[in-house]
Structures are given as C-alpha cells and as structure tokens.
C-alpha cells in the first residue's frame, strides 16, 4: 500500500515537472513571438543609439552612396576591394560567385545620425521585396513579382578601417586596423556583391566572352534577354 502511494506521488511529481517544462516552453515561444513583433517596429523608428544629432559633413550617407555607385558602375564585381573596405569587417568576395541584381532606380531614402556616433542610412531599392540573383553559371533567377517597394538599411559606425590579407595558401588573415583616422564605415561584413540592372548587363556580357561552356553561354543569352527587358 505504502509502495503504491509512493509510486503515485512519484508519478504526480513527474507529471508536474513535465507540465512545468511545457509551461516554460510555451512562455519562451510567446516571449520570442512578442519580441519578433516588437523588434521590427522599433528597428526603423530608432536605429541608432544615443541622442539624435546632425550628420557631419563627411556624411555616412556618402559612404552608402559610394557603395551603390560601385554597384551601378559595375566596379563592385570588377574590383571588390574598395567596396569591401567600406565595411567595418571587410572580407573577400564570397566563394559562391553569385551576384544580386537590383533595379536601376535606387536612392538614399532616409538617414539619421546620433551622438554615439552612429548612423543609419536606408537605400530605396524601388520595386520588389528581394533582388534577382545571377549564379556562377550566369543563370538569372528573378524575385517573385510584387507591388512592394523595398529599402535596405545600413548601420554605420565611426571606426578605423581594417585591411585583410591572405596567407600563402590563399586563406584570409584576420583583418588589422590601418594607421589612419577613424571614418564612417558600414557595420559588419560586406554582403554578397550586387549590381543594378544596367551594370548586370555589362557583367554578363563580359563573363560570356570569357567562357567556352555552351551551357553558360546559353544561360548568359537568356539572362541578357531578361535583363534588357527591365530598362
């Protein structure tokens, strides 16, 4: 009888523990869900820390415009280093060799500075929620059609530029700060390379000339046809 009571007590305690775990798990899910809702709303409203301040003359806006000018001129794929050096954690071109394609119509929609000093810049990429992608075999995948206008936000910080190097095996060595004054840099590592439509046409033409692979040449022809319809 005593054994049976003990067993029942143990079973009840186990059930209680399981219920507690379920309750904690449910609470975690709810908190995570609430955070996911709350964070996006506050991200744009106040991206920078500290008090809002007037942007200095060498505006962080100029840094982001420089990046996008490189995308519009095609320099980003022809000469990656200057683009990578606009970021606080520069690095080599990602090995997958994909290139994202945005509309020719882009502009800095909004920017703000704070006294931290930090800054936020939003580039309007015009129509479509996401960019198209040209893969390493020059095949273009357009994004889903949408009536959404999109923007990409950049957070900038005042830092010393860092240079990265490669060892003899071609592996990148951790970046070191350069002996120069601090400047506005886009926080984090560079994204995968991107171009605007016009620059992408030139990129595909140039890459097509370099190859003898008939599949890549066929992909390039189809990609060019698609891109030329976007003017």
């Amino acid at each position: 009888m005593r054994e049976t009571v003990k067993t029942h007590v143990r079973t009840a305690a186990s059930i209680q523990r399981i219920l507690w775990h379920i309750a904690i798990l449910a609470l975690t899910v709810v908190i995570g869900w609430l955070a996911a809702i709350a964070l996006p709303q506050t991200a744009r409203q106040r991206v920078t820390k500290g008090e809002k301040a007037t942007c200095p003359v060498d505006s962080p806006k100029d840094v982001v415009e420089q990046l996008w000018d490189m995308a519009a001129s095609g320099q980003m794929v022809n000469n990656w280093e200057p683009a990578a050096r606009l970021f606080s954690e520069p690095g080599p071109w990602p090995s997958d060799r994909t290139v994202r394609v945005f509309s020719d119509y882009w502009w800095v929609e909004y920017f703000e500075c704070s006294n931290e000093p930090e800054a936020a810049v939003v580039v309007n990429t015009h129509w479509d929620r996401t960019p198209g992608v040209i893969d390493s075999r020059l095949h273009f995948t357009p994004p889903p059609q949408s009536s959404v206008q999109a923007g990409i936000g950049y957070r900038l910080v005042m830092q010393t530029r860092r240079m990265y190097y490669w060892d003899a095996d071609g592996k990148p060595i951790p970046a070191k700060p350069l002996p120069e004054p601090k400047r506005w840099l886009i926080q984090g590592p560079p994204p995968s390379p991107f171009l605007t439509v016009t620059a992408a046409v030139r990129y595909v033409l140039e890459e097509r000339v370099k190859t003898t692979d008939p599949v890549i040449m066929k992909n390039a022809d189809e990609t060019l046809k698609t891109l030329l319809e976007m003017h």
Binding site: R44, Y105, W107, W127, R129, G132
Partner: protein, 221 residues
C-alpha cells in the same frame, strides 16, 4: 498625380504611363462639371506634395485655401525595409521615382506635411470641410507598422483622409459598372474616361477607409 512607376528585378512593370494622369483628368472633368475649380499638379517628392497643397509649386495657380478636397492619383502600398536580420513593414505613398531622398511619403518624413496646418494666413491650407482622397493601393493598411500612412497623413494635415485597404486598378467603367475583381492580366487603353477601382467583387467594391486626425486608425465607413 504621382510619377508613373518603373520596372523591378522581377520583371513586373509598374509603369502605368499616362493612366494616373487620365484618371485624374476624369475626376477633374466630373468636378468641373459640378461647378468646382480644380488645379492638377504633377508631384515627384514629398516636398512637391506639400507645395501642391500650399500653392507653392512653380506654375501652380492656387492662391487661396483648398475648400473642397485633394485627390492623389499614384502609387502607394507596402514598404519593406531590411536592417540586417530585422525587417520593418509599413505603408507608404510612392510619389516619385527620381533618385533623391524624400521621394516617398513614409513614417520617417510624413511630419513634413504638418506645415500645411499653418500655411494659409497662419491657418490650415485645407479648409475645415476639405478632405484628402488617396487614389492608390493599400495606403490605409498598417503592414505591421504602428499605423498606416493614410492615418499619419491625416494626423499631420489635421484633416480627414480616405485610403483603400485593398489594391486598385484602372477601368473605363465606373465603380458601379466595372465587371472585374481586379486588374490582373488586363491592359487599359489610354482613352478617357479612366477610373481607379478598388479590388473586390463586382458591384460590391469596398469603400475607402476613413482616417480621422488625432490618433486611432483608419476605419471602415
């Protein structure tokens, strides 16, 4: 009227060419026929939009207060911003397509329109009975943002604003006679009359939501 629009990397062409202008012309003809004085303006930025309301656009012949109302024919809808892993969605009025800041009206710059409140003899450039109609897509939808752009405009101009919570399309028929649900797969010739019609079942088209200044959210009429 806003700018006609461009094409995105998906290949979807948002260039409506003359259709915004012709929709505005249709509205203008109807208002003129009713004895109203109407001035039409092309706007490409929030500053143009504001100047049009206060009579400051070059060549605009507005000299007094707007006593009837304001109609905007142009792009509007969802604006999606990514900040690294964070995303933010809101509604916006996509006035222009020139490559310059403040081409859109968004939550970040809508307060520029508050100048309207004091620009006519220190009073509102829009008369107390005037309202604004946003003839574009989904300006009264929040899209996860704190409030819709139609409501924010209403708060800033302190006048009522009407905006749709659905998409819109062009038709040669009036809202009462149009036989389609939406504009998908159809092209509309550039011939008057042109109406901007909200998406919805024929003969049961939704009314625009009404946004009242001072808070709250746009509501069904």
């Amino acid at each position: 009227m806003g700018d006609p629009g461009t094409i995105g990397p998906s290949g979807q062409n948002h260039n409506v060419k003359q259709l915004f202008n012709l929709a505005a012309q249709t509205e203008m003809n109807a208002l003129n026929a009713g004895g109203n004085n109407v001035i039409a303006c092309r706007v490409s930025t929030i500053d143009d939009f504001k100047q049009a309301l206060i009579g400051g656009l070059p060549g605009e012949s507005l000299t007094g207060q707007i006593t009837g109302g304001v109609y905007y024919f142009g792009h509007s809808g969802e604006y999606h911003t990514t900040f690294g892993p964070l995303v933010f969605d809101e509604s916006g009025v996509f006035v222009g397509q020139i490559q310059a800041p403040n081409t859109n009206i968004l939550s970040t710059n809508v307060s520029d329109l508050s100048l309207v409140q004091s620009s006519y003899n220190n009073g509102n450039a829009l008369g107390s009975n005037a309202a604004m109609w946003l003839k574009g897509c989904q300006s009264a939808v929040k899209f996860g943002g704190p409030t819709s752009i139609a409501q924010l405009i209403s708060n800033n101009i302190t006048r009522g604003v009407y905006g749709y919570d659905v998409g819109t399309y062009f038709s040669h028929d009036t809202i009462a006679n149009d036989r389609y649900v939406n504009g998908k797969g159809r092209t509309t010739s550039e011939v008057l009359p042109i109406y901007m019609i909200p998406a919805g079942a024929p003969h049961h088209k939704p009314l625009p939501l009404a946004c009242v200044p001072g808070g709250g959210e746009c509501a069904k009429q």
